[in-house]
């Protein structure tokens, strides 16, 4: 579904990604793990088009999307839930969700989208007239995910959904991620919390300072001694 080949991204003179490759198949949850600064966020930003690509190709659903502007990539069915949630602070919950459906022209589909999002996240419905800035961290994460779902994505890129959340909330969010996937959305999940990511992913890739060092079925990686030592704290 998504194929990234030999992707290289630079920040000025600094090389952040050095020719990495990865692929995501339809229906999967694929985890991209790695320590802080490995290049995980950079990878997602390059896929969604907000960072210029120095070399490599990105294909999505048989189509070359390398170097397309972000709004066209979104319209093609990839939606990115960015690191740090990035909700629109001075817009209400409703308006944030409407922004999620920006590329959607079908009013009926948008109405259905609201209904579904409020089923996933009843808390958002209770707070729908509130400004996003007044929500708690967990609610903002729900809003960021709900906003992405409003676009009815085929592939959802999620950057550290567990960041800064209490353990109970993290469990709740991950349950929902699994359910969203079961309902038919493919997911590329970036996490520093490797344990958590490997527990819900089908396959995983391990990134280390801009290089892809390992990949394979999540269960296999979870038993790999190197991974256990470096990322699972053993």
């Amino acid at each position: 579904m998504l194929t990234v080949e030999h992707l290289t991204v630079n920040y000025g003179a600094i090389r952040a990604l050095n020719g990495i490759s990865l692929d995501v198949r339809e229906g999967e949850i694929v985890a991209l793990i790695g320590s802080n600064g490995a290049g995980k966020t950079t990878t997602l930003n390059a896929i969604s088009g907000v960072l210029p690509i120095a070399a490599g190709t990105i294909r999505f659903m048989e189509r070359d999307i390398t170097n397309l502007p972000p709004h066209q990539i979104t319209a093609s069915g990839i939606v990115h839930v960015p690191e740090g949630r990035r909700v629109f602070p001075r817009m209400t919950v409703m308006e944030n969700l409407e922004m999620g459906a920006y590329t959607c022209k079908d009013k009926e589909a948008i109405r259905k989208g609201f209904k579904e999002v409020f089923q996933w996240f009843p808390r958002l419905e209770e707070r729908k007239r509130q400004l996003a800035a007044t929500l708690s961290g967990g609610e903002q994460q729900m809003l960021a995910m709900g906003r992405a779902l409003m676009a009815r994505p085929k592939l959802m890129l999620m950057d550290e959904p567990s960041m800064g959340l209490a353990p109970m909330l993290v469990d709740e969010i991950f349950k929902i991620i699994r359910a969203i996937n079961a309902a038919g959305t493919t997911i590329l999940l970036v996490e520093q919390n490797a344990h958590l990511a490997l527990s819900i992913a089908h396959r995983a890739f391990v990134l280390e300072t801009g290089e892809m060092v390992l990949s394979g079925p999540a269960a296999e990686l979870a038993n790999n001694p190197e991974v256990r030592k470096a990322y699972l704290g053993e």
């Binding site: 907000v50 502007p69 629109f88 920006y102």
Partner: protein, 291 residues
């Protein structure tokens, strides 16, 4: 006396507000002070003058067409002078803006000469209307009425249309707006279009009010409107409206109190004061560092 000055101040301030909106909207989205904005206002006044004098149009039609001319001009200026510099330093864009501003005022100077021009007397019938001890002229009513109408329309666009919501989203988080599928380049063009059309309306109204249109009228008006935008909180649309009207009122009251030689200094004293003591202005948001 006070009420009279208040009316005069609100009329003048409404025109500052119309110009200030363009500064604030553009800044809100791309953090650029569009120093050519005052010249767009000046071109708006000249365009209407040409439509009235040469094409013998009615002033309202002339104003609408002047707004259309400036709308296009704003879009073109952004496209050729600012867009190529989007990823360069802010200083480059600022210098480019000053270049555009000099180009426009020199061009108008070459075409129309250095003398101030005026609209014909009959362009809008001026009658005085008494309210209590004060009086308001039909011209002031026109200025306040049209400004209010334009500002209400702007509020409507920004809050209730899809492109308006995209504008707000882009100004709150540029990158994330793009991730939502917003074509940010289109939003930026649209912002320049709106701001420039409002400035043109301001230019036409001021041209009629003072019966003077000149190639350098954009300089002082632009600087004052910029001060008004900072006073209201740069980036804030209601702030620009409030800042403009407030600045007009303070300026007129200051002149009435006998400080007429400081007329133009008042705006800059306010600008310096705001920047020193409350850089976010009256209604501005905390300046967030954007990634």
């Amino acid at each position: 006396m006070f009420w009279q000055q208040l009316i005069n101040g609100i009329a003048l301030g409404s025109t500052y507000a119309l110009i200030a909106l363009g500064y604030t909207m553009v800044y809100g989205i791309i953090q650029l002070i569009n120093f050519a904005h005052g010249e767009i206002y000046m071109v708006g006044a000249f365009a209407a003058l040409v439509f009235v004098m040469i094409f013998k149009m009615n002033i309202f039609l002339a104003m609408v067409l002047a707004m259309a001319v400036c709308l296009l001009m704003g879009v073109v200026i952004e496209f050729i002078a600012y867009r190529p510099l989007r990823r360069s330093s802010r200083l480059s864009a600022l210098i480019s803006a000053i270049g555009v501003s000099t180009f426009l005022s020199t061009l108008v100077l070459l075409i129309f000469g250095a003398d101030a021009k005026g609209f014909p007397d009959h362009v809008f019938p001026v009658v005085q209307i008494h309210i209590g001890s004060a009086e308001i002229s039909s011209l002031q009513l026109l200025i306040i009425g049209i400004s209010a109408l334009l500002m209400l329309s702007l509020e409507f666009i920004v809050h209730h249309t899809k492109i308006g919501k995209a504008m707000r989203a882009t100004s709150q988080d540029y990158t994330t707006a793009a991730l939502m599928g917003v074509n940010v380049n289109l939003v930026i063009s649209f912002t320049f279009a709106l701001g420039s059309a409002l400035a043109a309306a301001g230019g036409v109204l001021v041209g009629i009010y003072f019966n003077a249109v000149s190639f350098n009228m954009g300089l002082m008006a632009g600087l004052k409107a910029f001060a008004a935008a900072v006073l209201g909180g740069i980036g804030s649309i209601p702030g620009a409206m409030l800042g403009g009207v407030l600045l007009g009122v303070v300026e007129v009251l200051g002149v009435a109190a006998g400080y007429s030689s400081y007329r133009d200094a008042i705006a800059f004293a306010i600008l310096v004061g705001v920047l020193m003591f409350k850089p976010t202005g009256l209604l501005g948001q905390k300046i967030q560092k954007k990634v």
